[in-house]
């Protein structure tokens, strides 16, 4: 065990963790919007809208994240027409390609989590609102959404942790995130065990934080 290498690589890896956190937070924010939108589309009664939303979540939950990020980064880069459009400004950058792939992926999972949360709301709660003469719009925003968010917290916490680990795939499209920098250090020292132990420790610490924040929120919003 080369402890000196572990100590020396720690600040470099910590620095790279910033990129990991940026990727994670951007993807989660976009993903939450996508997820909420598609969850609402999923519970829509119109069969075309609801099949479309189902198709999206089916495709993105049914294929590996690595394949998705490769299709968006290397695949779209091969289409000559696309390179002459304004879209290329975004798709040229590995950073945005990674965020697009991560957002679409976590969005699909989030939409399923929220959909099942909406569907577990007891009809009696909505009926109680209706009997008080509250409009269905207000029932949706003030009753259904808050309950759905509380219901989905445990599952969503899991999704955040999965996504956090998923960001390590950003290193496959040249980004220098935590895993990318770990691989870089290994490429000059040839000592994978030491460096990956430190990187793994940082991932574990992030999981610890996320896990506890979610636990705190669950307790706070318990009813």
């Amino acid at each position: 065990m080369d402890f000196e290498l572990m100590i020396n690589s720690f600040p470099k890896l910590l620095n790279a963790t910033l990129i990991t956190l940026k990727l994670l937070s951007a993807s989660l924010i976009f993903g939450l919007f996508i997820g909420l939108l598609f969850a609402i589309l999923r519970i829509n009664k119109n069969p075309i809208i609801n099949k479309f939303a189902y198709g999206y979540s089916y495709v993105f939950r049914g294929t590996p994240l690595l394949v998705q990020i490769f299709i968006i980064y290397f695949g779209l880069g091969q289409i000559e027409y696309l390179r002459s459009t304004i879209l290329w400004v975004v798709l040229k950058e590995p950073y945005w390609c990674a965020i697009i792939a991560f957002s679409l992926n976590t969005g699909a999972y989030t939409s399923e989590i929220l959909r099942s949360a909406f569907q577990t709301i007891k009809p009696g709660i909505i009926e109680a609102g209706q009997s008080l003469g509250i409009s269905s719009k207000i029932i949706f925003y003030k009753i259904q959404i808050p309950i759905a968010i509380r219901q989905s917290l445990p599952a969503y916490g899991n999704e955040i942790i999965l996504m956090m680990k998923g960001t390590s795939l950003a290193s496959t499209v040249t980004l220098m995130d935590l895993t990318g920098v770990a691989k870089y250090i290994i490429s000059t020292t040839f000592k994978p065990i030491e460096v990956f132990i430190v990187a793994g420790g940082i991932y574990l610490f992030m999981t610890f934080i996320i896990h506890n924040v979610i636990k705190f929120l669950e307790k706070k919003y318990t009813y």
């Binding site: 390179r83 590995p94 040249t174 691989k183 290994i186 000059t188 040839f190």
Partner: protein, 275 residues
Amino acid sequence: MNIIKKFSLGVLITLFLSFSANADKIKIGTEGTYPPWNSKDASGKLIGFEVELAWTLCRYIGQQCEIVEQDWDGMIPALIMRKFDAIMAGMSITAERQKAISFSQGYADEVASLAVMKGSDLESMDTPAGINLTKPNTAAKKALKTLTAALAGKTVCVQTATIHQNFLDSGDVGKVNVRTYKTQDEVNLDLASGRCDAALAAAVAFSDYAEKSGKPVVLVGPTFSGGAFGNGVGVGIRKDDTELLNAFNKAIDKARKNGDISRIATKWFGFDASM
């Protein structure tokens, strides 16, 4: 319970048999994605200069061999962890790598070169045909200056953990935006898509790609050798494995004398890259 016992016994026997069958074979690790050094044909079989040379060297050593695949970025760690006994993967002999493993004498040499897509403004660089960085002369120093100016702020793509990455990281051509990829294939893809302003690798890797893909990839600037680019390509072997190192050195001597190395090199490279 009985079933579990029988099953684990079966697993143990299989493991034992597979170990004992491989005990006296030399395992050689290669990458399989770096043509013409080593690559795979359509059926997934390993082919290339080093694959053919490996079989020849094993014949001279007089021992059975097995060629195994390993991702480039884990090549040296895998050797150290005894996943195989020797590396033949277009790996240049450099001082940095020699801190971790030993190398046999070199069996072939390659020059590195920058490549761009046709129409790039880097095509107009005025540099000598080739520079050696071991003891750079005035012409070489001038060429490095020209490159520094031309590459400023540009994105240059390389495969990770290569001599090409080391060279760009060394600062000899100033501060360029280095992007690293797991395989040379991915470097080629992003060079063609326009994400890279230029790429740096073995000159043959680009000419091979241009020929097979039909993409307008052109070599620019000088060819590089020496210095960070190492002293030829050799067989990588664990430091404590001197017996195997001697065996490979002797086999390379014999293969060179009989003209095997230059024959195989000419077949795969189109010119004699042996040394």
